[in-house]
Structure formats: structure tokens, C-alpha cells
Symmetry: C2
Subunit: 358 residues, 2 copies
């Protein structure tokens, strides 16, 4: 009768390590290039919209379906509003989709290395996962489309993290007929890329595309993301989400953000310009840098381990993301900052590379 | 190969009806007494704190653990910050707890009638539920503590919805030794009640208490709730939550709200005063009204069906909640509004009751 509550927690949860997000130092003074935030602020319209909601008051529940946002996003994407599901960040969308498709013992399939969270989401369901390794040129073989009777969902980050590479929509459109199950294409970084898969959703209900406002819209602090899928799929997913998963402030802010496409284009162009310069300069410092379609670059090097570089940078108040993928290798994922942040990174890197006796 | 994505959705999801929250008309003009929102605005400090976050910017991720809030709430409750888990509304907390304890085929136990969402949360896990009916005086017999090997979690809304009644902490403290599994005491409405169970968390790791800022703090639009539990339980639950489940604006707003206890006390007192008047006046109109410790009252009547009353009120732009509990009966759950909203309700009710030929 007096057993601990721990005895009642599901084994899959007890045995999990839990997902560890990138460091979020709450003190100031860091050049923070570790979690792919936008170095530029969001559209000023976002703050105005939020202040307007404050003026109207917060005591009422928000619209459970965030209709004002869906109408605006639908216009932008050329679909109807019922093709869109909004979430408390795109992590919420990934959670909802996993909970809808993946039961105990079911499988998801992932490209590897990619966003670690997908695997965690399956673990939370007491599900399993299969990883298909990217080829050396960051393409995927047909193994990614192989059958497995317990396979319920494929995740593809596109552009991928940590590589910043992309499987072209033309390739994915050729996959559709062979897809052994639904695929969620995570387009968190797509606004920094040349193409998107969002139109493929119209071709098959097995294609779903998620988007985030954290990166390109500079709203990581607001938590807003959305899914594009066919309406009969959205209808099922609505059952899984919390009733009021998006708050009144984020609905208004996100709507204002996507209305200001000029702001998006201008800031995105700046990020891309800096990304190209960063890539060149990091290569000049001896890093192998994969050409990126995202707001970060993936850096490895053959001549020395990169973990001490991460640590030395951190000591110098420059945070980058050190990532180690067992069976694949490690590297530094460095977010694109402002030009002056990148200058600071490059200076510190020069110090670090010259002082460790190499 | 070309099966619909629907074929991959879990059966328990496909077969569910989905939780239907109370109506949230987005147009103005309604006297809205259907979802237990606070008729008074939140503390002015909330808006100030949110504007301050806007000034600092939204492009960075929020603190994944909402530490500033936890420190403040811990002071208020006399616990340490690691006894607190924050959520995107207390629905997020209920979801996290259910996902941690309830696997496929596991049972939860509920009092009946109570908050319908608990059952939905179990369905989403492909779990089952047992309902123990409240007695006529809204107490619970020892059936509520009976053993069942697959029982993983008990939910108790306290004060309960729709009744507004409460099981006293002294009674629940006597339950602790007999508890067949952990219990989540949902204190969404506790600030309108005379007592709380929060201190019982110190007596056993099988007692968890959830709170919401939606009702008493007038922040339904912000989405913020929290759980109080022993630290080793919180540690497990952190694995289940989305990394950044609370956004930067809500963390700041919620922290400002709980710092302003004077505002809470003043507005809560007004609501309680109006609740007592409402109870008397509704009884004078022929309703049976249960004495409430929440910010709503549960009204039934023996002389005529209440559903047409709900409908007629809605036609007259007064929204109350009609609830029908199979095997139990139906009634109207009416939120406590401002005095003038309640006057409006009472006038419309008089019209409705006199014009339907009775």
C-alpha cells in the first residue's frame, strides 16, 4: 500500500535519459550561437499585436483553433485553413503527430544524424525507432523507404540538422508512391532554403509538413509552430492536442509575424549572406563545412578533436553546439549570428586554434 | 503502398470523439458564463512584465524550467523550487502526468461526474478508466480507494467541477496510507475555496497537486499552470514535457501574477461575494444550487428540463454551460461573473422561465 509513486511510472519513462535541449544561459554576456535563434529581432508588428491583446485582456480563453492565424497562413501557402494545425512551438506539433501515429511497440524511422528529439518522442510512447544513415553526400538511399509492418511514421528534418543539407522536393515527390507509411517533413529551417515541400501535401495525405516561427521569424521565445496536412488528418490530430495549446498572445504575435513577409525576407537575406561568409572563413580556419541551407553550419575537422574547441569557446563566452553522434562522429553546429557576432566567433576561434600548441 | 495515412493512426485515436471545450465565441456581445473565466482583469503587473519581455526581445528560447516562476511559487507554497513543474496551462500538466503514468491498457480512476478531460487523456494513451460516483452529498465512499492491479493514477478535481464541492484535506490526508496508486489533486479552483491539499504533497510522493492561473489569476488567455510534487517525481515528469513548454511571455506574466497576492485576494473576494448572492437568487428562481467553493455554481431543477433554458439563454446572448452526464443527470454550470453580468443573467432567466408557458 505504501509503494513509492515511482513504481507507477511507466518503465519506458524511467529508463529514458530525457531530451537535453541546447544550453540557455539566462545571464547576459554570451555570444549565443548554439540553438539556431535568429540574431535579428522579429517584425515590430509582433509586439504591437501582443500589446493590443494585453489591452483587450487575458482573462478569456483563446480560440482553441487559432483561426486568425490559420486564415493568414493558408493564404500564404495556397491551401484552406482546415489544412493547418497550430502548436505551442513545432515541438508541440511533433509531439501531437507522434502521439496520434505511434503506439507501444510501433516504429518510427529517422535519418541519422538528425534531430534527436524524434527518437525521444517515440521513447515517450514506448515505441521504437530505426535509423537510416545519411550517405557521405547527405543523400538517403532507398533503405529510407523500406517496408516494415510496425512502421507508423517517418521523420525527415529538411533542411536537416546538424548538416543544414536538404533532400530536394523533386526527390521526395518521387518517394511518395513508395512511402511505407506517413512522413513528417520538418521544415523548421525552410525559410533559409531555396525550396519547400509544402506543395507535396496536396499530392498525398501521407505527406505532412511542419513549420516553426522560432527561427526565421525570430520568435523562439513565443513558442509557435504549425502543421500542414490534409484536412481529414488535421481532424484526427485535433483530438490529440491540448484544447488551448496556443495562448492568446502567441496567436496574435504569430499572425502579425507571418503578415510581415517583407521583414522575413530582409532578415533572412541577411542571415544567408552571413552564412556564406561564415562558411568561407571557417573553411579558411581549417574546418570542413557542409554547404548549408539553414541558419547554422556544420563544422568538422580532420586534424584535431572539436570538443576542446567548443569548451574553449564557451570559456570565452561564445556558445556553439557540440554534437556527438555515436556511430557517425562529432562536430560543431554553429548558428549564424549577426556579422559582429560572427566576427567575435572567428576571433575567438583563431585564439583557440593558435594557443593549444598546434 | 498507397494506403491512406488514416490507416496508420492509432485505433484509440480514430475511435475517440475528442474533447470538446466550452464555446469560445470570438465575436463580442456575449455575457460569457460558460468556461469559468475570471470576470475581473489580471493584476496590472502582468501586462508590465510582458511588455518588459517584449522590450528585451523574443528571439531567444525561454528558460526550459521557468526558474523565475518556480522560485516565486516555491516561496508562496513553502516548498523548494524543485518541487514545482510548470506547464502550458494546467491541461499541459495533466497531459504530462498521464503520459508518465498511464500506458496502453492501464487504468485511471475518476470521481463522477467530474472534469471530462481526464478520461480523454487516458483514451489518448489507449488506457482505460473507472468511475466512482459521488454520493448524493458529493462525498466519495471507500470505493474510490479500492485496489486494481492495473490502476496507475487517480484524478480528483478539488474543488470539483461541475459541483463546486470539495473533499476536505483532512479527509484526503486519511486516504494517503490506503491510496492504491498516485493521486493527482486538480486544484484549478482552489483559490475560491477555504482550504488546499498542497501541504499533503509533503506527506507522500503519491500525492501531486496541480494549479492553474487561468481562473483565480484571470489568465486563461496566457496558458500557465503548475504541478507540486516531490522532487524525484518532478524529475521524471520533466522528461515527458516539451523542452520549451512555457513561453517567455507567459513565464514573466505568471511570475508577476503570483507576486501580486493582494490583487488575487481582492478579486477572489469579489467573486466569492457574487457567488453567494447568485446562489441565493438562483434558488429563488427555483433552481437547486449546490453550495460552491469554486467560481461557478451547479444548478439543476426538478420541475422542468434545463437544456431549453441553456438554449434560450444562448439565444439571448448569455452563455452558460449545459452539461449532461450519462447515468447521473444534467444541469447548468454557471460561472460567476461581475455583479452586472449576474444581474443580466438573472433578468434573462426570469424572461426565459416566464415565457415558456410554465
Amino acid at each position: 500500500m505504501s509503494r513509492s509513486a515511482v513504481d507507477f511510472i511507466r518503465k519506458n519513462i524511467l529508463e529514458m535519459a530525457g531530451y537535453v535541449p541546447g544550453e540557455q544561459p539566462q545571464e547576459a554576456g554570451y555570444v549565443k550561437l548554439n540553438t539556431n535563434e535568429n540574431p535579428y529581432p522579429p517584425s515590430p508588428a509582433v509586439g504591437d499585436a501582443i500589446v493590443e491583446v494585453l489591452r483587450r485582456g487575458l482573462q478569456k480563453y483563446p480560440d482553441p483553433l487559432a483561426t486568425v492565424f490559420r486564415v493568414e497562413a493558408a493564404k500564404l501557402l495556397g491551401v484552406e485553413p482546415d489544412w493547418i494545425l497550430t502548436g505551442n512551438g513545432s515541438d508541440d506539433i511533433l509531439t501531437i503527430v507522434t502521439r496520434a501515429f505511434v503506439g507501444e511497440g510501433d516504429y518510427i524511422r529517422l535519418a541519422y544524424p538528425s534531430y534527436i528529439l524524434y527518437r525521444v518522442l517515440s521513447q515517450l510512447q514506448n515505441g521504437a525507432w530505426e535509423e537510416v544513415f545519411f550517405q557521405g553526400d547527405w543523400t538517403l538511399t532507398n533503405d529510407f523507404l523500406a517496408s516494415n509492418p510496425r512502421l507508423k511514421l517517418i521523420f525527415l528534418a529538411n533542411p536537416n540538422s546538424p548538416s543544414g543539407t536538404m533532400i530536394p522536393p523533386a526527390v521526395i515527390s518521387r518517394w511518395i508512391e513508395q512511402l511505407p507509411c506517413p512522413i513528417l517533413i520538418d521544415e523548421a529551417y525552410v525559410d533559409f532554403a531555396a525550396e519547400s515541400c509544402v506543395d507535396l501535401v496536396k499530392l498525398s495525405d501521407r505527406v505532412m509538413v511542419s513549420r516553426s516561427l522560432s527561427k526565421s521569424y525570430a520568435l523562439a521565445g513565443l513558442r509557435f509552430g504549425y502543421l500542414v496536412a490534409q484536412p481529414h488528418i488535421i481532424e484526427q490530430l485535433r483530438k490529440v492536442k491540448d484544447s488551448y495549446n496556443c495562448d492568446a498572445l502567441s496567436i496574435a504575435g504569430a499572425t502579425a509575424a507571418i503578415r510581415d513577409q517583407n521583414w522575413l525576407l530582409e532578415t533572412t537575406r541577411k542571415v544567408i549572406r552571413t552564412r556564406e561568409r561564415m562558411t568561407e572563413e571557417l573553411r579558411a580556419l581549417g574546418f570542413d563545412v557542409v554547404p548549408s541551407q539553414a541558419n547554422f553550419v556544420w563544422c568538422t575537422r580532420k586534424d584535431r578533436p572539436v570538443k576542446p574547441i567548443y569548451e574553449e569557446l564557451k570559456r570565452r563566452k561564445v556558445l556553439v553546439r557540440y554534437m556527438d553522434y555515436p556511430g557517425w562522429g562529432d562536430g560543431l553546429r554553429i548558428s549564424v549570428g549577426t556579422d559582429s557576432e560572427v566576427d567575435c566567433l572567428l576571433e575567438r576561434l583563431q585564439e583557440v586554434l593558435s594557443t593549444d600548441g598546434k
